[in-house]
């Protein structure tokens, strides 16, 4: 059992997805428990796998007993072990938290929703655990296609936003596929470990250079790196809350993981960091992404749209931190992947709870929200503080590493942009506090009655939502307190640098 964890992580949700699809015809009530069970198995296997990796080092699994480079190998090391746990945990918490909202938003389509949910998670976990470059493409498309469908199921402009996402996502994935094709022509292999063993012998090579650029630009489109972010805000704003709280925390972060995996475990790190000579340019692009993401977030008038632009800025943090090219920046980028999954999940879950109660996420509709939903907003504020980067929440520690890395690399533009973006985040979230806590402003000499007006009653979100939101918010603090341990025991060994 223990040795099959890498396969179980992916195969369980895949098979359960087919089961859920069949069940939706027989008994709709069974769909939700089956999905919970599947994700629980994935989550526990991921935790088991991470513990194994921490005690034994890299775990290699031969799918079907075929040995690499001919067969498909699943490989778990400190890098994907950590992100596997975080991603499966986020998917699980979001599932628990969105049951009531799914019943409301998807009404008669719960079966298809849970099927797509499981397929999406299958794709992402597969991307994380696979050690085969072409297998990664297939799983990438599984995740993307179910993501397109999840987003396109929404009302209003969701279908147009979904279609734009299809176009951009397909261009990104196709670039990656083309890059892998170049690599295959150059090396004759598709297994990542095998390619990385062959490549140093054939460098310098224009084909390999182009292969790297194609893979990288594909991933930059997929992760919505600033000038290529066009698809993201509309897709995440107009999708149903349950879909966006699943897709928004996970997709971009997993794509950043793929960028790290490709750069360090397929191509030789020395070639990527110095041979290609784009790291300086990418750090400056990341600076632009952070600044522009924050500025665009300032100009939004809807909660989910503002959060979507914050994600654009956060992608800049991680890409910039990675391309700083030193140990501190790398630690910061990887820690921030884990933290950002959780804090984005936290604020998007809260946005989902708000839209469950008031069916609207425009700022004007948020007046008095703190009195109406005190617990939801308390947890939302913990997520917000983490995004701003206030200790003891985890966001502070990853930003600390990123800033230290920026100073060590002498990239003061990066440091300045990170601080600027944090300040803008503070403005963004305290504006929500102002609207939600103080407005509507009391008028005249009835001022002291205004607080207990007709809208003053408490109307909280369902218990399931609050529980998962509370756990997520609690995790933000726990991960903050233990971030030193996470870095020293896991992330330290994640990349060869």
């Amino acid at each position: 059992m223990k040795e099959h964890f890498p396969a179980l992580i992916v195969v369980t949700p895949l098979i359960m997805a087919l089961l859920v699809s069949a069940m939706s015809w027989l008994n709709k009530k069974l769909c939700f428990p089956t999905t919970v069970l599947a994700l629980l198995v994935s989550l526990l296997s991921s935790i088991g796998l991470l513990l194994r990796v921490m005690s034994e080092g890299t775990v290699r699994y031969r799918l079907g007993g075929w040995s690499p480079p001919w067969g498909i190998a699943y490989e778990a090391d400190h890098l994907n072990g950590l992100i596997l746990v975080v991603v499966s945990l986020a998917a699980f918490l979001n599932l628990i938290g969105s049951k009531a909202l799914v019943a409301k938003e998807f009404d008669q389509k719960e079966g298809p929703f849970y099927t797509l949910y499981l397929l999406f998670v299958t794709g992402l976990l597969g991307i994380l655990v696979t050690g085969d470059a072409f297998n990664l493409y297939v799983l990438l498309e599984i995740a993307s296609l179910s993501g397109y469908a999840l987003i396109g199921m929404g009302n209003g402009r969701a279908s147009l936003a979904g279609l734009n996402y299809v176009f951009m996502g397909t261009i990104g994935a196709s670039f990656y596929l083309l890059g892998i094709g170049y690599l295959y022509l150059a090396t004759g292999s598709l297994n990542m470990a095998d390619i990385s063993a062959i490549l140093p012998g054939i460098l310098p090579s224009n084909v390999v250079f182009l292969a790297f650029l194609l893979c990288l630009s594909g991933m930059l489109i997929k992760m919505a790196f600033f000038p290529l972010h066009g698809w993201l805000p509309n897709a995440y704003t107009h999708a149903f809350s349950t879909a966006s709280s699943l897709v928004a925390p996970l997709t971009t972060k997993v794509m950043i993981y793929v960028m790290i995996r490709i750069s360090f475990f397929v191509f030789p790190p020395a070639f990527v960091l110095t041979g290609v000579d784009i790291s300086g340019a990418l750090v400056w692009f990341a600076v632009v992404a952070m600044v522009m993401g924050s500025v665009l977030a300032l100009s939004q008038k809807r909660l989910k749209r503002m959060l979507a632009y914050i994600i654009v800025a956060e992608v800049g943090y991680m890409v910039g931190g990675f391309w700083l090219g030193n140990r501190l920046g790398m630690n910061g980028a990887i820690l921030h992947i884990a933290n950002d999954v959780m804090m984005t999940l936290c604020v998007f879950l809260a946005a989902g709870a708000i839209s469950y109660k008031i069916n609207d996420d425009r700022f004007s509709a948020l007046q008095g929200i703190f009195r109406k939903m005190p617990f939801t907003m308390a947890f939302f504020m913990i997520g917000a503080l983490s995004i701003i980067g206030v200790p003891p929440t985890c966001g502070f520690f990853s930003k600390w590493y990123l800033i230290s890395g920026g100073i060590a690399a002498g990239q003061y533009g990066f440091v300045a942009a990170l601080l600027f973006s944090s300040l803008v985040n503070a403005v963004l979230f305290f504006r929500i506090v102002e609207i939600g806590y103080y407005e509507p402003f009391p008028e005249g000499h009835h001022a002291h009655h205004a607080r207990s007006g007709p809208k003053g009653g408490m109307a909280e979100a369902p218990l399931g939502m609050l529980v998962s939101l509370g756990i997520t918010a609690g995790l933000l603090i726990v991960m903050g307190i233990y971030s030193g341990d996470i870095v020293n025991n896991i992330i330290q060994f994640a990349v060869p640098l």
């Binding site: 072409f134 296609l145 279908s159 299809v166 397909t170 083309l178 094709g181 022509l185 598709l190």
Partner: protein, 140 residues
């Protein structure tokens, strides 16, 4: 480079030229066309170009062919010489890529259907105009 050398350069790598041209056509259609179905057609041309790239990379000079043409069923005991066969791996990979592109086409077409039912048109500029009008109405 003389004209002759250039022609040889183009002709010797003609499959890659075809791929590049097809990718450019596909990308152009996805970026420049207003009609959503034309964009989807562009996307398909783009994906097909990559499939062509892979499949053509499996070819070998010197009369390599498909295994079943050389040795049909029932002829056991004939040694397998890799030289005689084109590389089958890219072809097998592309079976998966074709499935992916069909699935993408399906998702895209179903979204287009939804968009048409919603706005009554498939021209992107007209849809954007309608969205703007709706937004304007909801403000006033």
């Amino acid at each position: 480079m003389t004209m002759d050398a250039f022609t040889t350069f183009v002709i010797s790598k003609y499959n890659y030229w075809a791929v590049v041209v097809l990718i450019m056509i596909g990308l152009y259609a996805m970026i420049a066309k207003q009609n959503l179905v034309k964009k989807i057609i562009g996307m398909n041309i783009f994906q097909t170009a990559i499939i062509l790239f892979y499949v053509s990379s499996g070819a070998k000079s010197g009369g390599a062919t498909i295994p079943i043409i050389l040795n049909a069923h029932g002829e056991d005991g004939i040694p397998v010489r890799a030289m005689d066969y084109i590389n089958p791996l890219p072809h097998v990979l592309m079976l998966t890529a074709i499935v992916v592109s069909v699935a993408t086409l399906g998702v895209a077409l179903s979204l287009v259907l939804k968009i048409y039912n919603q706005y009554g048109t498939l021209e992107e500029d007209e849809i954007r105009l309608k969205i703007q009008k709706e937004a304007y109405k909801s403000l006033h």
